[in-house]
Amino acid sequence: MSARIRVVPAPAKRGEVVEVSILIQHDMETGYRRDDEGRVIPRDCINLLTCRYNGVEVFRADLSSGISANPYLQFYTVAVASGELEFSWIDDLSVQGAARAGIAVSE
């Protein structure tokens, strides 16, 4: 599972609100589709995604099959200090994923 993270503006000024976007490669299988032999493809969705900013949780999402394949999420956070945004997620098959991106903050 790979993911792409975008933080704008970069670098941000201290106290500025930055836009964080993440695109994760994941099928978000609904559990309603069938394969060529008629067998139900088991449900497999990312059900929890968290974002930590220098260790402090700033965003969390409970997702379901109602979110499109290759989930895209965009949210905002206040730039407090240079450091790292750490994303981690887990899907219905208990497969965990993680991604991180640097965040640069100027005075």
Partner: protein, 149 residues
């Protein structure tokens, strides 16, 4: 037991429940168990939340959704969470987003799956304990999820 009397009573009860639930439906499904679990019976007010979805979606597999809440996002007055409810999806509890005072701006953008033409509702929980909602109707030409292909 007086059978016709009991039947009339049961019918009346069912009618009353239907009336109450219709009145509630007009203001974002107060009695909807899924909403109730979230709000615990606190009235959900219309406004402050803005849910943006296209009027017409050609493909229900990926519909852009933007939800914005009018909030200063300060340490004392912020949005705690935003819940998205679908009217017709097999999984009605679409997503929950937990924000906080570190958020800076109460706005989330994502892409959702919609199983047919329906109304999507967003309910926001604020730090002062109040709940606000908005909904948007989307015409979906090709629905998601339910196809067996």
């Amino acid at each position: 037991m007086n059978q016709p009397g009991r039947r009339r009573f049961v019918a009346g009860l069912a009618g009353a429940i239907a009336l109450v639930s219709r009145a509630a439906r007009a203001q974002t499904d107060q009695l909807d168990p899924m909403v109730w679990v979230f709000t615990r019976g606190v009235p959900v007010q219309k406004g402050r939340v803005k849910l943006e979805l296209p009027l017409l979606a050609d493909n229900g597999n990926s519909v852009p959704l933007t939800v914005t809440v009018d909030s200063p996002m300060s340490a004392t007055d912020y949005v705690k969470s935003i819940h998205l409810f679908s009217e017709k999806n097999p999984v009605r509890d679409m997503a929950r987003f937990y924000l906080g005072p570190r958020g800076g701006r109460a706005k989330v953008v994502t892409r959702v799956r919609l199983a047919g033409t329906q109304t999507v509702t967003a309910i926001a929980a604020l730090s002062d304990g109040s709940f606000w909602w908005d909904s948007a109707h989307v015409q979906v030409t090709l629905s998601a999820c339910m196809d067996e292909s």
